[in-house]
């Protein structure tokens, strides 16, 4: 899918929808994303009542349950500000699936359409709305970028993460084998089909490590949970005490590289 | 109720009520395919079919028989199946036997000589009706004179193609010739010798049809 929203002029305020994964498992990534936006002179608003986009239920075949959770999020963004989401996957849910989810409910469908138009994945927002030109203040470093399937195929924003990393002068971005292939997370897929999911993440981690990059960065914490979770398990299995594949959200990496 | 009625009634009950718009195939080809000059079409046709492992020889009305004979010799073939009902077939029949190349003719129904066709017919010659530049494709409409198996069973298939009859695309060919108004028993597109990649994705030629496809591209004499 290609981007359907024309970037607005530079806004003064944005909403931040953290996603439940970032809120609970990667809060640092959320803080770093907010700080990055604030450094660009943006006022970031975090509606306290936010929970989850509803995707886990939606993709598991429980659209009614997803609808209940999604309906709650629809009410959280009253002002006409962009909603920035540090995940291609959750942004894809809100941008592309909310209108379908509420197709039978005219009032909520209108809300969903209006919200959909304001949803931005973080790296897309940084590049295409803020024209963010990160100034690299770190030393030489090689990283490898993993892009989530939703960011790539649903949001069509697979180039913006690469663009951001590419503008960091001393950072080399390594190219992994089968870059566009899924890491094997897929929400409940990872536990419903653990053998296949396990084989996919095993291959993904091997490909990432084979680049020799010192770390993996991604704009999606779901993938990171899976990739880093497997890399750490492999380290345990093989008796390594330092992580063989450290990783973090691209927001954390960008913030560190642009801080003194 | 018959199976036919049951299937149709299930489908009819759920058929969309709105009439879908006819897809604009002509519009797509008009905007996505360039119409090339005769020379460009000929060279594109040749490049494509050669890439698919066919052999192409440029010939003229004056030299095509000689060329055919030389290729047969070079391939160690001394026998060819032709049609006695076509001018090109008759031309071969008139000349080749005297030059030591035996000619078989397809003059009776296949049932009468199926074993010979399968086991003792090393080569054949047919004409192509036209060709398609985009994909390097020969168009054949087998008929009573040059039946279907002639272009399939013999391991080497020679095709005489009038280089002036090359269309840009398959779509252009069927439109120009009004195929929608009626098709023969069998119409064929052939784009190379028979092949398969069914064993470990390794390409091998001569799976079931001709192992070699030789195109004689006929242009008028220059002078």
């Amino acid at each position: 899918m290609t981007r359907t929203t024309t970037p607005p002029s530079r806004p003064r305020d944005v909403y931040f929808f953290a996603t439940c994964v970032v809120d609970q498992f990667f809060p640092g990534a959320g803080m770093d994303a907010i700080t990055l936006l604030e450094r660009q002179g943006i006022r970031v608003h975090f509606p306290e009542e936010q929970t989850c986009c509803g995707q886990p239920a939606y993709t598991s075949g429980f659209p009614d349950e997803a609808r209940k959770v999604a309906a709650h999020q629809l009410t959280l963004f009253p002002n006409d500000w962009p909603v920035v989401v540090p995940s291609g996957s959750c942004a894809g849910m809100m941008k592309h699936h909310y209108p379908t989810l509420f197709a039978a409910d005219p009032v909520r469908k209108a809300q969903a359409d209006a919200l959909s138009a304001r949803i931005y994945e973080l790296t897309d927002f940084l590049v295409n709305v803020l024209n963010f030109q990160p100034e690299d203040k770190g030393g030489d470093c090689t990283v490898v970028l993993h892009t989530s399937c939703s960011a790539r195929r649903e949001m069509g924003v697979h180039l913006t993460g690469r663009q951001l990393l590419g503008s960091l002068g001393k950072v080399t971005v390594a190219q992994q084998d089968h870059e566009s292939e899924c890491c094997g997370f897929g929400g409940t897929f990872s536990v419903k089909q653990p053998e296949i999911s396990g084989a996919m993440v095993e291959d993904k981690v091997k490909a990432l490590k084979a680049t020799g990059a010192e770390r993996v960065v991604s704009a999606d914490c779901g993938c990171l949970m899976n990739i880093l979770g497997h890399a750490a398990w492999k380290d345990e299995q093989e008796g390594r005490t330092t992580p063989s594949l450290p990783g973090e959200h691209i927001a954390s990496f960008l913030l560190r590289r642009t801080s003194k | 109720m018959s199976a036919r009625e049951r299937i149709l009634s299930k489908l009819r009950a759920k058929m969309p009520s709105t009439v879908a718009e006819q897809p604009d195939v002509a519009g797509w080809f008009a905007t996505h395919r360039v119409v090339e000059s005769a020379a460009d079409k000929a060279s594109r046709f040749r490049a494509c079919i050669e890439l698919a492992h066919a052999e192409v020889h440029a010939v003229t009305p004056a030299n095509w028989l000689t060329t055919l004979r030389e290729i047969l010799r070079a391939k160690g073939l001394d026998q060819i199946l032709v049609s006695e009902e076509t001018t090109h077939g008759s031309a071969v029949l008139d000349e080749f036997p005297a030059q030591g190349i035996a000619c078989q003719v397809y003059d009776m129904a296949i049932e009468a000589w199926k074993t010979e066709m399968f086991n003792a017919t090393p080569a054949s010659l047919t004409a192509a009706r036209a060709a398609i530049a985009e994909t390097g494709t020969l168009i054949l409409w087998p008929d009573a004179a040059e039946p279907r198996l002639m272009s399939l069973v013999p391991p080497v298939h020679f095709v005489l193609l009038d280089a002036g009859k090359i269309y840009n695309t398959f779509f252009e060919a069927m439109q120009a010739e009004g195929w929608a108004n009626g098709l023969p028993t069998n119409s064929l597109l052939i784009s190379g010798p028979s092949k398969t990649a069914d064993i470990q994705q390794t390409l091998a030629y001569g799976a079931h049809g001709p192992k070699e496809l030789v195109v004689l591209m006929l242009t008028e004499d220059e002078q």
Binding site: Q24 | P23, D198
Partner: protein
């Protein structure tokens, strides 16, 4: 609905079969290599992404246009085929289709049927039915021939023997083909197959084929192939029987060029196949070869069920190119046999439930990470991930009246539904969410070190000691 009873339920044992492949590094490597090969061949055929997208859009509109008129077009096709002398038969179930085909064979006193590649004939298990009736059914596509010789089934709809190495095939030929010594030279192996099968084309009483497209306006059956065995089966024997699903129909001949181009480029990365064979009648008076009888069997087998639902109908847009399997990370890991269905891979997951019922296939839809690679390459833009989610919903929702498909609710579990209901109750309520996640962050040390399937290859999940909302509060937001 289909009354065909399958002896074995594909969903049962799916995980065990997947695991067996996943744990075999040799097979893993071999599938990966084969899929990489097919993916790069396809990519080379579509250098211009604008052209690709507009052609896919055209292909989608052609398929949707024709499906919208399907019952009308079937009748038009029947009329025109009949006028041309081709006999049309209708079958609602695999059993009916087999009975029709065997009836034609018996009328001919047929002993041997040679078969061109036809996935629909696999779908109805024709080979078994024919052999039970004392008629030899011999596959003639090289890949199908190999698979039949090995007593197996195709593992890919385009490349049936893609799971086999040339060494395995060499051993198979040496063991099973009379007078053949071991050789792993591919050309030599193909020549062995050619020689065996040539005699069979000569002897066969019946030629059976599939159909890639049936053209209603002209009454024409179109076949796409590279080997020439399809032409052999449809030309050499005295009787030709074609079998196809009812959805493979187009109204106009002009619909064919875009679909053909999409099919061959997406399937094997060829700009066109070696042969495109269009059959419009049996042998006419004065013609010297070709079958004297041509039959077409139109098979439903659950397709009318998919047709009845606007969303599920998109399943029928498929032109069977196999690109979805070539690009699927799941198919790449487990190969075609693990699925246990005639059609493997993403297309198999969305079409099989209509053929076999959701009870036999309910867990198949869960074997996808919904990565979207299949939908991205589909030449007729079938939204496969969306359909997979729909099938999950059909499988897991409690059985209800007037279901869209046979076996609706087959995967329903009170426990699982309660878990999701509970999840929704928490996540729709900021206060419950706040409480649950607060507890999670404070008591993360209570998280078990074994978390079911997750920790089979990953470290356990542990909530961070402070949530983002806590960090923001502390910062003085």
């Amino acid at each position: 609905m289909s009354e065909h009873i399958l002896e074995f339920k594909p969903a049962e044992g799916f995980r065990a079969r997947s695991k067996a492949v996943v744990d075999n590094p040799f097979l893993r490597q071999s599938f990966r290599g084969a899929m990489d090969f097919l993916m790069s061949k396809r990519a080379a055929q579509f250098p211009d992404s604008e052209e690709l997208e507009s052609l896919r859009t055209l292909g989608e509109s052609i398929r949707q246009y024709n499906l919208a008129k399907l019952p009308t077009l079937l009748v038009q096709l029947e009329e025109n085929l009949s006028r041309n002398g081709i006999q049309v038969h209708w079958a609602e179930t695999p059993d009916e289709a087999n009975a029709i085909i065997l009836g034609i064979c018996h009328a001919q006193h047929a002993k041997l049927m040679v078969k061109g590649k036809s996935m629909v004939s696999e779908e109805i298990e024709l080979n078994h039915a024919a052999e039970a009736a004392g008629i030899g059914a011999l596959e003639s596509d090289m890949g199908e021939y190999i698979v039949q010789l090995a007593g197996e089934k195709p593992s890919h709809i385009i490349m049936p023997a893609i799971h086999k190495t040339k060494e395995e095939i060499a051993r198979l030929f040496a063991d099973k083909v009379e007078g053949v010594d071991y050789t792993d030279n591919v050309d030599a192996l193909i020549q062995i197959g050619r020689n065996v099968l040539r005699q069979k084309f000569l002897e066969a009483d019946i030629g059976l084929s599939g159909v890639n497209f049936a053209v209603a306006e002209t009454g024409t059956l179109c076949l796409v192939e590279n080997e020439g065995n399809g032409r052999m089966c449809t030309t050499a024997p005295p009787v030709h029987i074609a079998i196809t699903g009812i959805e493979k129909i187009v109204e106009k001949l002009e619909h064919i060029p875009p679909l053909l181009s999409l099919l061959t480029r997406s399937a094997t990365g060829q700009n066109i196949s070696t042969y495109f064979n269009m059959i419009s009648s049996p042998r006419k008076a004065g013609e010297k070869d070709g079958p004297s009888e041509v039959h077409l069997v139109l098979l439903d087998n659950g397709r009318s069920q998919a047709y009845a639902d606007e969303q599920l109908r998109k399943t029928l847009q498929c032109i069977r190119c196999g690109a979805c399997m070539n690009h699927c990370p799941v198919y790449t890991r487990i190969g075609g046999h693990a699925y246990g269905t005639t059609y493997p891979g993403p297309i198999g997951k969305i079409i099989s439930p209509h053929m076999l019922g959701l009870e036999a296939t309910s867990t198949m839809a869960t074997a996808s990470s919904l990565c979207g690679a299949c939908g991205e390459v589909c030449p007729v833009k079938i939204p496969i991930p969306e359909l997979l989610m729909r099938l999950r919903e059909e499988a897991f929702t409690a059985p209800h009246a007037d279901p869209a498909m046979v076996g609706q609710g087959a995967g329903y579990s009170w426990l699982m539904t309660s878990v999701w209901k509970g999840w929704a109750a928490v996540y729709r309520s900021p206060s419950l969410y706040g409480l649950a996640t607060w507890l999670g962050s404070r008591f993360s040390w209570l998280m078990p070190s074994k978390q079911g399937a997750w920790t089979s290859v990953r470290v356990p999940l542990k909530p961070a000691p402070k949530r983002l909302r806590d960090m923001l509060k502390e910062r003085g937001e």
